[in-house]
Symmetry: C2
Subunit: 353 residues, 2 copies
Amino acid sequence: NSYSIAVIPGDGIGPDVMDGALEVLAATEDIFSLSIKYHHYKAGAKHYLATGELWNHDLAQQLRTHDAVLFGAMGDPSVEPGILERGFILAMRQAFEQAVNLRPVKLYPGVATPIAGLTPERCDLVIVRENTEGAYVGQGSTIHANTPNTVAIQESVNTRQGIERVVEYSFKLAMNRRKKLTLCHKKNILIEAGKLWQDVVNSVATRYPEVNVDYVHVDAMCFHLPVAPEKFDVVVTDNLFGDIITDLGAVIQGGLGVAASGNLNLDGSAPSMFEAIHGSAPDIAGKGWANPVGAILSAAMMLAHLGEKAAAQAIEAAAVNVLKDLPALAGPGMGMSTTEIAAVVSSQIRTDF
Amino acid sequence: NSYSIAVIPGDGIGPDVMDGALEVLAATEDIFSLSIKYHHYKAGAKHYLATGELWNHDLAQQLRTHDAVLFGAMGDPSVEPGILERGFILAMRQAFEQAVNLRPVKLYPGVATPIAGLTPERCDLVIVRENTEGAYVGQGSTIHANTPNTVAIQESVNTRQGIERVVEYSFKLAMNRRKKLTLCHKKNILIEAGKLWQDVVNSVATRYPEVNVDYVHVDAMCFHLPVAPEKFDVVVTDNLFGDIITDLGAVIQGGLGVAASGNLNLDGSAPSMFEAIHGSAPDIAGKGWANPVGAILSAAMMLAHLGEKAAAQAIEAAAVNVLKDLPALAGPGMGMSTTEIAAVVSSQIRTDF
Ligand SMILES: CC(C)[C@H](C(=O)O)[C@@H](O)C(=O)O
Ligand SMILES: CC(C)[C@H](C(=O)O)[C@@H](O)C(=O)O
């Protein structure tokens, strides 16, 4: 129970929520006798503007020496959209073979969801998004550019092995949950990719006969997820569909403020990365209006991934508890500041465990 | 004001809701002195199982002789998913160059939306979905099939001309509405396709200086659309993203029962096609539990497209009015049967106009 963690606070509210997560981790260390060493790294919009540096070999080598990467948020209006996303986030996901993007969709008690009548008991699912291939490979070509006859082709590349590792992970996860797995795709239209996904699910399913398996088109998923989230337990899907339906999941659970995510390397070849799914929100940076719970829950997910289940559960319990008392999930009306929330969560861990 | 309409009732509840739409059209004919000739065509799951026929040259030739196609619903569990979708619906969209899939997202008074606190004034937008290209071209390839090394590539093909006609249409539509246009894409990741879409929007925008133009990523759209639909007026997007966000739109407006759509040919080279967006729901066919309002509003959209704006508005007003009195939008608790709803809408058109 000795860990070395790379910390990348990033831009905007990234450092604010990271401070909160680190304070909570410190409380957890004491109570659960963990020993965590942190090493801070600079990256993000500001760092890029100052140095021109994005993801690079040196940084990758340094990050590889740690057990996990804890990430704040990245982005600033002064950097063109796409630069940091592709130049850093996707680059890390691919270089570190972070095969799974894990996104729990859980409505916590006392959190206001925009879905009328939805209760926490009905909303507890996990979306497993393939995180390294599909449309995110960025392959394509444009011919006859700048003529009336331009054709732009964008490719989605899907490999059996890439899908298999994610599907295998999803079945294992389902076995530890309600034993239901839903493949989300658009196989009636994307016939090549859809067939491979369905084939892999069918073949892995034979090894998990207890898991109830079904299939839902991505358009139908948008129809069912908001009004009947109780239909889903583990949803496994491709990179692009996952990007889309996890944001829908975040709406349902009450917003980006509380949503956590893990970018999981499954074979131990490189560290996994954990981040709240909100953006860098530069307009409210430093104001105390950012909710650190997404970052705190991402830290909990990191501990669970490192095998520290009890510590992870303690953090989740304490963080969820504070949500009940917040009149709003972010902004000036949140009722507590970023640091106050982190302090309350930390002291609850110290007193309750 | 003399029209010839091809009618394809299709499967399941398709014939039920089509009967309703035709009754309402008959009332409208009398009041607005239109003369509409109908020609019924067989197509769909049952017809395919009986004859092996899908979309074909003969049918296309016959349908081309009409001013528009009115479509019920298609599909049955006994036909493998994908066969009718690709073999008929996509085939028609492509053969008839139905460039635009037009999907109003409008919350009507008295309709229960699952979004807490959403009011009709805040929810009135139109999604313009490109309907003939993108990922729907069905191009791709699979190599090393049935080996551990399978790779499935799926292509999205986007042409400047295909995008231009849809974007041009969207700007015109925005000029007749609140003069706001939002491009929805994922241009930070799908760089080839995204760049072409953004280029076309930028260049067409110069001819519509009054229109306020913005851009939202498809994942962010899923985040904003449910809670802040008032941010949007005309949303233009590609075929696949359109498929996804229009279903989300249908949730917000209270369900598939009331959602209408048009597959618009913009150059007069072939007929346009109008259909409710719900499926064939074979389990409730013939029971009187299907809501014909989606089909009725699709018929209104057809009349509007044919230039009969007053008649279209009369149908919409009468159909919307009946929605106020329905305790549920479909099923046994709808309060009125399919035929009763059609009768009420028809008689209201006869008395009010
Ligand atoms: C920042 C961006 C590259 C990213 C994505 O598209 O995957 C984000 O939307 C996410 O979901 O993590
Ligand atoms: C039936 C199917 C081919 C279709 C689509 O994917 O376009 C449907 O979902 C729609 O939105 O019209």
